[in-house]
């Protein structure tokens, strides 16, 4: 299972599951990190922690310990083409228009 802290900077992933303590989950989800959304890992801070993400066009920084609670999946199209998502440069940013994010429908409660 891939978690957000293992994603190589520069690559985009889809959030599968947000775990961890309830208050952390709530905060992450309220900032828009909900299952089905695309997250891009931008970079990792000099001491190896925290990591910087781009979610819904906003740059957030969370610690590796917290990122470990977020299970992610490689972008389906890229993975299908046999190329690991982690090596692909990611360009598309989330916006309100590109809301047909794969996985959103299936993750509905």
């Amino acid at each position: 299972m891939l978690t957000l802290d293992q994603v190589i900077p520069g690559s985009g992933v889809i959030v599968e599951k947000v775990g961890g303590a309830r208050s952390l989950r709530r905060r992450l989800m309220e900032l828009g990190i909900i299952p089905g959304i695309k997250v891009e890992v931008l970079r990792i801070a000099p001491f190896g922690d925290p990591i910087e993400l781009s979610v819904r066009g906003c740059n957030l920084s969370i610690r590796a310990a917290e990122a470990q609670q977020v299970e992610v999946e490689r972008l389906p199209t890229e993975a299908r083409a046999g190329v690991p998502a982690s090596v692909l440069p990611s360009t598309a940013c989330y916006s309100a228009r590109s809301r047909a994010v794969p996985g959103l429908a299936k993750s509905a409660p």
Binding site: L31, R43, P50, G57, C58, S61, A65, S95, R99
Partner: protein
């Protein structure tokens, strides 16, 4: 104007918070709410016209700014800000403020209109808060801010307003755009209510849960069906067994726990949040669909290009160090001439007052008490202003969040927040502005922990003391032929104090100010040009609140110190007789060297004063550290400010005022002997004394400013207690350990 000013001095009742004395109809109250970094402060500064006041929210030390604004048609209103929040759900009493302020609970005045400021470039996330406010059915107006920055991504305010059912005005607070339209919309909105249209379709199970909780809500909270439901959802996401919320009835907690237990496999938090985001996404899609030419971003933004350099593991760190070097060097280099000028000016006024007032109690009170006291306060202003100028620029440009990002790993290992870096480094210049700088942290626990360890950083007032002791007691020789002993010692003192501060943070953070470890979720906002007027305005507000609140305490302490060091006066005829007796009573066995006989009247007067007696009374506690009562008097005097130690020691040894040149004092210290002929000052005593000065909280201004920032005497008393105890124990270990080793 006058009416509001009288109210400004009144107590913090709901009426006074509205700025109107009872009897007159209260001004309508507008509340500015929004996510962090959306330009709320800029908008506040644009709207605020007069009577700006900085206070605190009831019960918590979270800043609350209020001011009067004028509306079209000559109407006036009061505008207040609410700390930035991404959501109304809360875990701590600080996060709870937003909800309390919006609903007018817990001694907050009930707002007539909530203006929610929204970043047009980050719509979905910002609208999450708007949605919560809509659900609570508070009177609402949306200020769609930063439309210029959002460019093509900005929605049409009319269309967005129509979709939300909430009036929506495009603004550009930083440049002052859209303010007229905003004022007109405020007037219109105050005049008539409007039903919001935004609707979230929650799962049926969730609605049943919410309704099951609704009747456990306290009667005072309940309103319309929609509000009850919204508050039930708030309670469901916010209440936890270990939360720090206040004023939550047990019945409500119990009911929420029952519902959560019954939910079993269902993920209630996710159901709520996901339903809301889904509603917002479809709403936005509808709004943007109608707008041709709304582009999705493609090329990396300007911020991303800057961050590639500024957050780079190598260059990013180099730039960071360079920026910090400029900031802290300027605290020393730029502030110093101004501080010298202020000191000279007050010296001049002191001299003039001495000439024109008849000698005696009144002259002493005015010159040594009041004028010196005001001088002691004003002298901090250059550093405070400079530090807040830099903090304002760093915050406003978006770099401060990057400082926290870069330093988080290092500071977290001792339990400090990444944002503690700037206050900690400022502590090398002076603890007073550094403690005020802790406000950049949102959490009380982080602020408190930083405040408690910042005074351990070796501030510039300790420098004259180190210089005196090192100069007097350590040879200007070199170790191994190259390393200067004196310079090494100075560096060692700075390293020592930094290490102790970090260790203290680790220990205090796990004991006294223990708090659940809070996940760091840091937004890295886009880089923006700082708005200089708003930065300068904030700097002025900080300086003013320091002068008003900490300044009065520092002034009072200065007068007390003056009384302690000047009274009781030596009775003239008995002077010669009383002196040895007093010395013998206070400290039997104290040495009466022949030098004492030649001392000037000032030395005897100082010795006879409360301060002198206190120094002697402290001697039993000081002997184990290697100090005699004269050093004790110096330590008492240094409470006014550490550098005063040098001049008090000059007075104790009858050398008069020791100014810049302390060579006579150094000679005198080297010559000072105990009764048995051993020198009082050995290098070991010097080391013990420096350690004591590095660790003891001998600074009334620090205590005054901690009192101001925490709004209680508890923390300054604790700070004084723990630092003094730490200083005593460490000096004891150094002195006694050194003696055991044969030094």
């Amino acid at each position: 104007m006058t009416a509001a000013r009288t109210a400004g001095t009144a107590t913090e009742t709901a009426e006074a918070a509205r700025g109107v004395p009872s009897g007159e109809p209260p001004l309508p109250l507008l509340l500015l709410v929004g996510n962090p970094n959306v330009g709320k402060t800029s908008l506040f500064n644009r709207l605020a016209r007069r009577n700006e006041r900085v206070g605190n929210y009831p019960g918590v030390t979270v800043e609350r700014r209020t001011a009067e604004m004028s509306l079209p048609g000559g109407q006036r209103a009061l505008v207040a800000d609410v700390p930035g929040a991404y959501s109304l759900s809360a875990r701590s009493s600080e996060e709870q403020i937003a909800l309390q302020a919006v609903l007018g609970w817990a001694d907050n005045p009930r707002p007539d209109l909530v203006v929610v400021v929204v970043d047009a470039g980050q719509l979905v996330r910002n609208l999450y808060l708007v949605l919560q406010l809509v659900e609570l059915r508070v009177p609402l107006l949306v200020a769609l801010n930063m439309v210029d920055e959002a460019g093509e991504r900005a929605p049409d305010p009319q269309a967005l307003g129509a979709a939300l059912g909430v009036p929506c005005v495009a603004t550009n607070a930083r440049a002052g755009g859209g303010l007229v339209e905003l004022s007109q919309a405020i007037v219109a909105r105050l005049a008539r209510a409007q039903q919001p249209r935004l609707h979230v379709s929650y799962p049926a199970d969730l609605l049943r849960d919410a309704d099951a909780i609704a009747d456990a809500l306290p009667a005072a909270w309940r309103g319309s069906v929609e509000r009850d439901r919204a508050l039930s959802l708030w309670a469901l996401t916010s209440l936890e067994p270990d939360d720090e919320l206040v004023g939550i009835p047990d019945e409500l907690r119990k009911r929420c726990a029952e519902v959560l237990a019954r939910a079993g496999q269902r993920d209630i938090d996710r159901e709520i949040i996901e339903s809301r985001y889904r509603a917002l996404e479809s709403l936005l899609a509808g709004v943007l669909e109608a707008q041709p030419g709304v582009a999705t971003k493609t090329a990396p933004s300007r911020t991303e290009r800057i961050d590639r350099v500024l957050l780079h593991p190598a260059y990013g760190f180099a730039v960071f160090l360079a920026i910090m070097l400029v900031v802290f060097q300027s605290l020393f280099a730029w502030a110093d001439p101004v501080m010298k000028g202020i000191e000279a000016l007050f010296g001049l006024v002191h001299g003039l007052a001495s000439q024109h007032l008849p000698a005696g109690f009144l002259q002493d009170l005015v010159t040594k008490g009041l004028i010196d006291g005001v001088g002691n306060v004003v002298v901090f202003l250059p550093q405070i202003c400079l530090l807040f100028l830099f903090i304002g620029l760093l915050e406003d440009s978006g770099y401060m969040a990057r400082v926290a990002y870069l330093m988080d790993r290092a500071l977290r290992s001792v339990g400090l927040h990444g944002r503690a870096f700037v206050p900690m480094m400022s502590g090398f210049a002076c603890a007073v502005p550094a403690i005020m700088a802790t406000r950049t942290m949102e959490r009380r626990r982080d602020r408190l922990l930083t405040m408690l360890v910042v005074p351990l950083m070796s501030c510039s007032a300790r420098l004259p003391v180190y210089t005196l002791i090192i100069g007097a007691l350590f040879p200007p020789s070199h170790m191994f032929g190259v390393l200067p002993v004196q310079g090494l010692l100075m560096v060692a003192m700075y390293l020592f104090s930094t290490c102790v501060a970090l260790i203290a943070a680790a220990v205090l953070g796990r004991t006294v100010v223990r708090g659940a470890s809070v996940p760091l979720i840091l937004e890295l906002p886009p880089y923006r040009w700082p708005g200089l007027p708003s930065v300068l305005h904030l700097m002025w507000l900080r300086a003013r609140s320091f002068l008003r609140e900490a300044g009065t305490i520092i002034l009072a302490f200065t007068v007390v110190m003056w009384v302690l060091l000047s009274y009781p006066k030596l009775p003239e005829p008995q002077a010669a007789a009383a002196l040895p007796v007093a010395a013998q009573i206070a400290a039997p066995g104290a040495e009466l060297s022949p030098a004492l006989a030649e001392n000037e009247a000032r030395a005897s007067a100082l010795e006879y004063s409360f301060g002198g007696r206190l120094g002697k009374a402290l001697e039993p506690a000081l002997i184990p550290l290697g100090f005699d009562w004269k050093i004790g008097v110096g330590i008492v005097g240094a409470f006014a400010a550490r550098e005063v130690f040098v001049s008090v020691m000059g007075m104790v040894y009858g050398l008069g005022d020791v100014g810049e040149d302390d060579a006579p004092l150094r000679d005198r210290m080297r010559a000072e002997t105990h009764r048995d002929g051993h020198p009082v000052y050995t290098p070991l005593v010097g080391l013990s004394l420096m350690v004591f000065f590095a660790l003891a909280c001998q600074c009334m201004s620090t205590l005054a400013v901690v009192r101001r920032e925490t709004r209680s005497w508890r923390w300054p008393v604790f700070l004084f207690g723990y630092m003094t105890a730490l200083a005593w124990v460490t000096s004891f270990a150094v002195y006694q350990g050194g003696r055991l080793l044969g030094f």
